[in-house]
Amino acid sequence: MTTTHDVLIVGGGGAGLRAAIAVVEADPRLNVAIVSKVYPMRSHTVSAEGGAAAVIRAEDSIDEHAYDTISGGDWLCDQDAVEAFVNEAPKEMLRLEHWGCPWSREPDGHIAVRPFGGMKRIRTWFAADKTGFHLLHTLFQTSLKYQEIARYDEWFVTKLLVEDGRVRGVVAIELSSGRIETITAKAVILCTGGCGKVFPYTTNAQIKTGDGMALAYRAGGPLKDMEFVQYHPTGLPFTGILITEAARAEGGWLLNKDGYRYLQDYDLGTPQPGPVLRSMELGPRDRLSQAFVKEMEKGRTIDTPYGAVVHLDLRHLGAKLINTKLPMVRELCLDYENIDPIKEMIPVRPVVHYMMGGVSTDIHGATPVEGLYAAGEVACVSINGANRLGSNSLPELLVFGARAGVAAAEFVAGESEGRHSGATALALAQGEDERRRLERDVLGREGGGERIATIRSEMQSAMEQGAGIYRSAEEMAKCADKLRELQERLPSASIDDQSRTFNTELIAALELAHMLDIAETIVHSAQNREESRGAHQRIDFPKRDDERFLAHSLIHRNADGSARVEYPPVTITRWPPGERVYGR
């Protein structure tokens, strides 16, 4: 038995929920459903902390937000996409406010804004330091208003069904019962988020396993700019838990083992007592993470049993500010480090945080596969280029979630019935094949082989070594070989859990398969980009090379499973490539 919908959205986080609402508002006759492997309020949007940027102050301008984003992205951003983004962000954020999002306020009742990394003007809206939590819950609760939105909660999508370059639906497993169903649809929007769990130390939740990226890649949707992996400069050492950039925006300092604000040595400005926009601790994330590595090489970081760290000092901000503007930071430090940031410094280090790369889309969220769309961290439009500025990703969910929803709705409405309906005989047959494959090859495996956790942690170690903050041809080649080896070992790894009811080991195996595919695209793209730009830094090619590489890396999967990379140029409209200048 299969079910069918007009628009099917995979992923129920910020982008997915916004897209669903956009579809219904564009055309209430459409039948729309969200399928998510977790309940929507568990989606990783919930852990975003610092804020969401949009121009609202009179002394700010759309062009300046665009310039900050483009220069922050080291000129790899498509400027037409950025222009659309900065234009629509304020409207989307106001819409969230109208829907009840509890944005923090000025005394006069207007929405408050705070400074953020890489931004020349103060334009980051915030809800204390739980912005993502409030944004997600507001979106989710508002989505409940629309009875037209159906949901498949805790269903795991294993395959995108594509026929003749046109998407037909998905195959998904219902976790609670283990049944495997084909869900056909006229259009599919991927909103499955990023893939931080490919690396060992990450701010990301367990669920960030790159599912949508792998699904699209296997179905013929190319991935773009996969080599650009963002390290957030301030994660806690053991858990990788995020300490928001807002802590630095409010005036926090990064100190090495001598108590020295070391960022001044890395062309990021001179230290002032208070925070200065686009300078020092408010520089862009890639540069700050790179500075950490250099400090570590000079032996000026602090050694802990969990590796090297530096100190984030918030003590001078005072208890009142910390308790009002950074309460979650304090809670997290107390719970997970036994440290009170009011009195002690916080040990931090760069950890993987965000994926600039992803499923390649145009500025409407459409992929080259007909009927397939993507929005949010899973997608690469690209507005973030080689490095994302903090507080740009939450508005991205809203702007492109809405765009993809509208585009999908228009696509479906513009079609006639019959020939273009989702449920074709071929699609249903593909669905059956997938069900048999899962039952035979995955569930039907014998025990006694390797553990999934072993393969997973070897992948993560290899990626940290080969695709970290600084890369070299040699290390990347070793990593690529290791990933090949792990791909070969995975099919015989044990799945001891033979139950059909809520089998999380099965899901872990499927997620690991996704992650290995994605990891290979990251390394392959990185090997082929022979320059350093933004978050992709190579010891063997230390300079930015606009002549050869002012272009996106577009990686396609060949029929035999190998990959080929093409270089479509970046769209430049009004901001010709320049030097990224911070602190001057």
Partner: protein
């Protein structure tokens, strides 16, 4: 359709002695039971008033009856439960009442203190009337 299992969720029964499991549940049940004793005191007060209204002999008989050990024990136990009732009520009151003075919320401890204070004043007045 696949041959997946039908999900058969397990529903645990709440045992009859569920309230014995935790100190907070036992306190809660005691608090709820205390309303029975509040009702008893109301009845006792009505009996007292009725006895008084029928004259000094009836009143004396009532006092003799009250001095009976069983009635005495019941009244002592009832007093303890009524005290429990009052104390728990006043301590929980601030959670139901949000009082704001000039835009700022009055701290819970003050709201509770006000309740206890009022109780003390009323008790003092009643004691003065009855004993004084």
């Amino acid at each position: 359709m696949t041959n997946a299992t039908q999900a058969r969720p397990y529903r645990a029964h709440m045992p009859l002695g569920w309230w014995l499991r935790r100190r907070s549940y036992m306190l809660f049940v005691a608090r709820e039971v205390s309303s029975v004793f509040v009702a008893w005191f109301v009845v006792y007060l009505l009996l007292l008033v009725w006895a008084v209204s029928r004259g000094p002999d009836a009143y004396q008989r009532f006092l003799d009856w009250s001095a009976n050990p069983i009635v005495l024990v019941v009244n002592i136990v009832a007093l303890l439960f009524v005290l429990l009732h009052a104390v728990t009520w006043f301590r929980l009151a601030p959670q139901a009442m949000v009082v704001k003075v000039r835009g700022r919320r009055v701290p819970s401890v003050l709201v509770a203190a006000a309740h206890f204070g009022a109780w003390a004043v009323v008790s003092a007045v009643v004691a003065w009337i009855v004993l004084g």
